[in-house]
């Protein structure tokens, strides 16, 4: 159980796909103009990642190494199609506003990367923890960026007016340059946090060494 929780935290924070590993950027910034789009995208991607990882992990013994890439593609594409049609049927407005980005989940570097590096070699149960960690790590960063962009660029959060009427929306944040800028600041903040975590971990190790030496 502890192992599962640790794996989950890896994806959520320490190896966050967007901020730390810098993969999966493609579909990330485009959906962050509104919080509802970001949540929809994050959950859709988590669904595909979870199902793909579990399925490939469950069948990892029967997938020959030489044809593993086409098979990964088939599995991921199948689950992407499932989520695409499900969203079209039950969340049509959300699906329309996300447009081509739902089908693009199939080439999301995170899913391909995780399946190749992790699911192909691990048991299904830990893959669940990994998929949920990575997927939710992706989602929270998306929602964070979207919250800033929607709040400052539109005065709303998920369509609900939050800022007072006198607030003049700063359109820059809804436009693409604003998205890049907000993302740059997020990465910068994250690198700083990472630096601090590493410093404190190094300091702890130092203290431990000195204890042992003493």
């Amino acid at each position: 159980m502890n192992r599962l929780w640790k794996q989950f935290k890896q994806g959520l924070i320490y190896e966050n796909p967007l901020l730390m590993l810098m993969i999966g950027l493609c579909s990330a910034l485009a959906v962050t103009t509104s919080v509802s789009n970001a949540i929809g995208m994050g959950l859709a991607m988590t669904f595909v990642l979870l199902c793909s990882e579990v399925m490939i992990s469950a069948f990892r013994k029967t997938i020959p190494e030489s044809i593993r890439m086409p098979i990964f593609i088939i599995v991921i594409a199948a689950f992407t199609t499932i989520i695409d049609y499900t969203m079209q049927a039950y969340f049509p407005a959300l699906s329309k506003s996300m447009g081509v980005f739902i089908p693009l989940i199939v080439v999301n570097c995170i899913i391909m990367g995780r399946v190749e590096a992790f699911a192909y070699k691990q048991k299904p149960l830990i893959c669940v923890a990994d998929a949920l960690g990575m997927g939710l790590g992706y989602t929270w960063v998306l929602v964070g960026i979207a919250a800033i962009r929607e709040l400052l660029g539109n005065g709303t959060l998920a369509g609900i007016q939050v800022m007072p009427d006198s607030f003049q929306p700063i359109l820059f944040f809804t436009l693409s340059p604003g998205g890049f800028l907000v993302f740059a600041l997020f990465i910068s903040l994250n690198l700083w946090l990472k630096g601090r975590m590493q410093k404190s971990a190094a300091a702890k190790a130092e203290a431990k060494n000195q204890e042992v030496a003493a």
Partner: protein, 189 residues
């Protein structure tokens, strides 16, 4: 049709305005030569992929009622195309093959190529319009790549504020390039 081309190339640029294909944009713009090679490779694959997937969808999938296999079929077509390009380069242009290294198979996961093939369908473009659109989008990709590669050369020789060092400064630069591109929207009446 000219309008669709100009919009795809400059006004609604696939990388700078629509945030598509960012992985390779950040990863492959270390040198100008590398980005040009990648841009041309993507252009080639995109146009061929359009030429292959459009008829495949309209003359095979739709008449058989198999539209739901679109995502599966398109990505497999692109993956096979990239394999073919790899074999061809390995045999006939080994210098380029060696230079591109591991980035060649990465073209398969390039969001822009798949996005173009999907949009040709969802926007109901005719075959000719699809080809024009795919050329426009990939030319826009090439343009964005070259621009950022050029900027990165200058960043190497400048002092960057500490909190922006590394990837953040690349995104800030991209943001500035995007602002410049927004000026192109006056091109369309």
């Amino acid at each position: 049709m000219m309008k669709i081309f100009i919009i795809a190339l400059l006004i609604n640029n696939v990388v700078l305005m629509r945030y598509i294909a960012l992985c390779s944009y950040i990863g492959m713009t270390g040198e100008v030569g590398q980005s040009v090679g990648m841009g041309f490779a993507v252009t080639f694959v995109t146009v061929i992929a359009t030429a292959a997937t459009w008829p495949l969808y309209h003359f095979v999938l739709v008449p058989l009622g198999l539209e739901f296999l679109k995502i599966l079929v398109f990505i497999l077509v692109i993956a096979s195309l990239v394999q073919l390009v790899e074999y061809y380069l390995k045999k006939n242009v080994p210098g380029l093959y060696a230079a591109m290294g591991i980035y060649l198979p990465l073209i398969t996961t390039n969001c822009a190529i798949l996005a173009v093939t999907f949009e040709n369908i969802s926007n109901n473009y005719s075959f000719l319009t699809s080809i024009v659109y795919s050329v426009g989008v990939s030319a826009g990709y090439l343009l964005a790549m070259i621009l950022l590669a050029g900027v990165r050369v200058r960043i190497k020789n400048s002092t960057v504020p500490k909190f922006l060092a590394g990837t953040p400064i690349l995104f800030v630069s991209t943001s500035l390039i995007a602002i410049a591109f927004m000026g192109f929207s006056g091109l369309i009446k």
